[in-house]
Symmetry: C3
Subunit: 143 residues, 3 copies
Amino acid sequence: MDKSRKGNLLIMRFSDGEDLLAVMKQALLDENIRSGIVLGGVGMVRNTGLSFYKGRGEYETVPVATESELCSLNGNVSRFEDDIIIHLHAVIGRPGGDALAGHLSAATVNMTAEVAVLVSQVELVRKEDPETGLKTLGFGQGG
Amino acid sequence: MDKSRKGNLLIMRFSDGEDLLAVMKQALLDENIRSGIVLGGVGMVRNTGLSFYKGRGEYETVPVATESELCSLNGNVSRFEDDIIIHLHAVIGRPGGDALAGHLSAATVNMTAEVAVLVSQVELVRKEDPETGLKTLGFGQGG
Amino acid sequence: MDKSRKGNLLIMRFSDGEDLLAVMKQALLDENIRSGIVLGGVGMVRNTGLSFYKGRGEYETVPVATESELCSLNGNVSRFEDDIIIHLHAVIGRPGGDALAGHLSAATVNMTAEVAVLVSQVELVRKEDPETGLKTLGFGQGG
């Protein structure tokens, strides 16, 4: 992963074989970014996990082992306790054109992927909701 | 719906059962935002309406009653006469992974949804085109 | 195509029959934008080409002749030698709701399309990788 930042814009270029979520998280920690909006992502992925919320903190995951185009990435970066959470939903395209979409729970970069993050001055903070098991998004005192 | 704004960035967190389009419109009016770019949206929706333009102001709508992941939200906020219009296209993921996409004409928030809007200094103004029935995007004198 | 720019935000409204990629490229050249992030795109397209990377610089393209909703546009603008490259991945919705996704290699605007680009202070520069045939994204000295 190679990255460059100017002001509130961080752009990352991932390399083949990288764990998209893990490497992106480390890049954000290195940049000390705890609140951000993912502006988009394009490239290719394999070993993708697309998850669907089933309630009470449980997800059902559809694994997509084969190479797919990463066509859309929406989501955000927020603080959770002493950690950060990258919350991403993705749309991927299969050879032939069929699109799959869901909560992105896993992805290995295939060849390359390019992701842009806007650093947010609105402070994003998650807290676990005991009723639903979701880590609900809220706003910090700076927000 | 809870929201926080800093400068030109507005972030909204919607709650279960809210009408996404109506509550978002009220939030934008409360913030006096009449021109904006929707940077993205993630969460879950139900009772979704995905519409396809058929010409002469008419849309054909595909209703999706069941719970789906909201995976992509693109679009903008503009002024139309004395009102504002939120123009959104969405991609949703069904359990199993299949993606549906279209003009978002309706959506009830399921559990939660998170949407980011960039306030635009380019003034966005729509005017109705009598020939097509479309409210065509244009730019104000400030733009 | 009509466009308006304020600071680092460029908004374009395309008209029926325009070649989305060619007209967008000319608009960016006219604005002297060589590095940018595509924040999103909505509207309708026809004669769409969705491509999938097969390795060694080769793509397999799925043509979609019929009118579709343009529901998501992710990607970026970068410099390549003396030229610029617009790298876009799109999600389109067919009547009935089915979504297709891929690298956007062609699209004719149907009725209208609206695209927003954030000018990037991070300098984006591509260089051809002789091994993969990909024009890999990198960052300029200004980045």
